[in-house]
């Protein structure tokens, strides 16, 4: 599971399933619960799914980059700096989730959402970015760097 291409494939599948669950299933559910004043439900669902797609692609890309770095033969000699890289990637994923939430809010700046809906947006974005990165690297990091993710 930790070696390429299996870890890339499993992460891709997880990201795809998460996207399907959060963008399609949760998106449909949100479309019936949000109270829109300017935007149409179709516009909301389309833009929500695009933002979540960007989050999923970003989350997967960061994870894939970690796998790539982790499996390079010379990585074993630089574990301290690679550990720093993991933290930078996690922060990047975190920043991506916040940035995409801001994008979502800007796109629907004329609308008013409930606190639970804001939390749901951020939860979905987190799941596809930093949670995907942390969870995947926790379980699927290449062997050399498997003990670097926080919590190991």
């Amino acid at each position: 599971m930790r070696s390429a291409p299996l870890n890339y494939l499993v992460t891709f599948v997880i990201a795809g399933l998460l996207w399907a669950l959060l963008a399609l299933v949760l998106g449909n559910s949100l479309s019936t619960s949000v109270a829109l004043t300017v935007a149409t439900v179709e516009d909301f669902v389309r833009l929500y799914r695009i933002v979540l797609s960007v989050a999923a692609i970003g989350g997967f890309a960061l994870t894939a980059y970690w796998y790539f770095v982790g499996s390079r033969p010379n990585t074993v000699g630089n574990l301290q700096s690679v550990k720093r890289l993991w933290r930078v990637l996690l922060l990047t994923a975190l920043a991506l989730s916040v940035a995409l939430l801001v994008v979502l809010l800007v796109l629907f700046s004329d609308e008013t959402f409930t606190g639970l809906q804001y939390a749901t947006f951020y939860g979905a974005l987190s799941a596809l970015t930093w949670l995907l990165f942390w969870g995947s690297t926790f379980f699927l990091s290449p062997r050399t760097v498997q003990y670097l993710p926080i919590g190991k």
């Binding site: 000699g77 574990l79 003990y147 190991k152």
Partner: protein
Amino acid sequence: MATNYYIGIGGTGARVAEALLHTCAAGYGPESLTLFLIDPDEGNGNLSRTKELLTRYQSTRQLLRGSADLDIPLFKTEIRAPEPLVWSIFESGDTTLASYINHANFKESDPGLYDLVNVLFSRGELAENLNEGFRGHPAIGAVVMAEPPEHREPWKSFWADVDAAQRENEIRVFLAGSIFGGTGAAGVPTLGAPDMLKFHPRARIDDQTSKITLGGVLVLPYFSVDASEAPTDGRLFVSSRDFPIATRAALRFYSEKDLAFDQLYLAGDSLAQSVGDFSAGSSQQENRPHYVELVSALATTDFFHQSVGDVATDRYHIAGRRGQDLSWNELPVTRELGKVSGRAAELKRRLVAMTTFAYALIDYGYPVLEQNPKEVRAAWHGDHFDPKRSRKDPTKDPRQPEQKAVLTALRDYSMRFLRWIVSMDEGTDGPVKLVRRERLFGQGGFIGHARDLSAIGTFLHGPSQERDFNHFRNLLDAPIELSDRLPPGAKYATLFYDAANRFAEDTYGLVPEASASA
């Protein structure tokens, strides 16, 4: 199983013992071995070095293998040594040949014998203080070594083993010494005489058979020393200029006398490379290791590898270089033609794996032990020495004093092994093409991987994939199943040795263990 005895005689015997200890540490030696030395010069630097190394070998082996059933060949040979290890011949200091034989008393009690002694020995020889050995005069040694004390160690244990033996050839005795110096040249033929060991009343079964198989290596001249420091006080001494004459006389003696050796190996080198400054004896006589000592140690292992009931009848075996250079392929490993390639491959694999192991343990494995375990994020460490698990069960922690002592002993021995194996190298243009000294030790001492990442993959003369230290660490990270019953110190050593072995195969193209034994 046969009982193996190695008896090193004189400075060369001690130096061959040093090489033998290192080959045993690398896993190339026999299953068991009893070793003792003969030298009247107890302060001899070569002897001191070997004594210290033997103590280290035994303590390291005890720590590593004492309570663990290891799968790796490191320190496989159980080496016993009587106490005292050295038969120093004389019971008191400042002995001369004259005082030893009570020469002065003969003048009146036996004038004929007195005159005979005066004919056989010069005044200088009779009066020479023998604290520092026989100073290149084997005739003195032959007299004083003719009656080894059977009831004092180390001979007491030896004869007890002979007494306990039941079958022909059950005790294998191998003598090692130089043919050209003092103590070895006196001791090897003296102990090789039929009545001394082989057909001693306690060893003989009948006129033709004995409990003892007697072998030996006669080390012919192979080094020179800088003679500018030779003594000018008129005392006896031998220098490398005397070696050829002494050797010629000794070889004639061996060919004419009916000695009891079953097998005799002769090893030498005509290049006469310098091994240090001149010293007639004492602590200053400590010379740089030489490959002929390794060759002589290989003669020893070849002798001990033969099965008890299969004593070869061919008596003389000779080894020397054909060309200018000596590489791994030229090392003589056995007289059995059908086994040469397998043994040569095994020897190279063992020594190169040990060199890699020693380097990696000194440079990386031991320093990791000094770090806070929580800070060590390497996969191998997390798999086998998880700090959370070690906190719950301290017996799994390699940093516990008892376990760390295992690795400290291994590290200290490893440094001695590395210094020994690189000392045979004489630089880029030198004739010995085994291990490159300049890749492992430079101007500032030991070359760690932080200084040169590629040192570990380029230390061997010959073809190399030139892999670097990161490749070693990747091999170390590879998953490996190790028994949980293995103590953490032994587990640590096993991990490093296993990675070293695979690194040696990958990088230096060594024949894998399974293929070699197939």
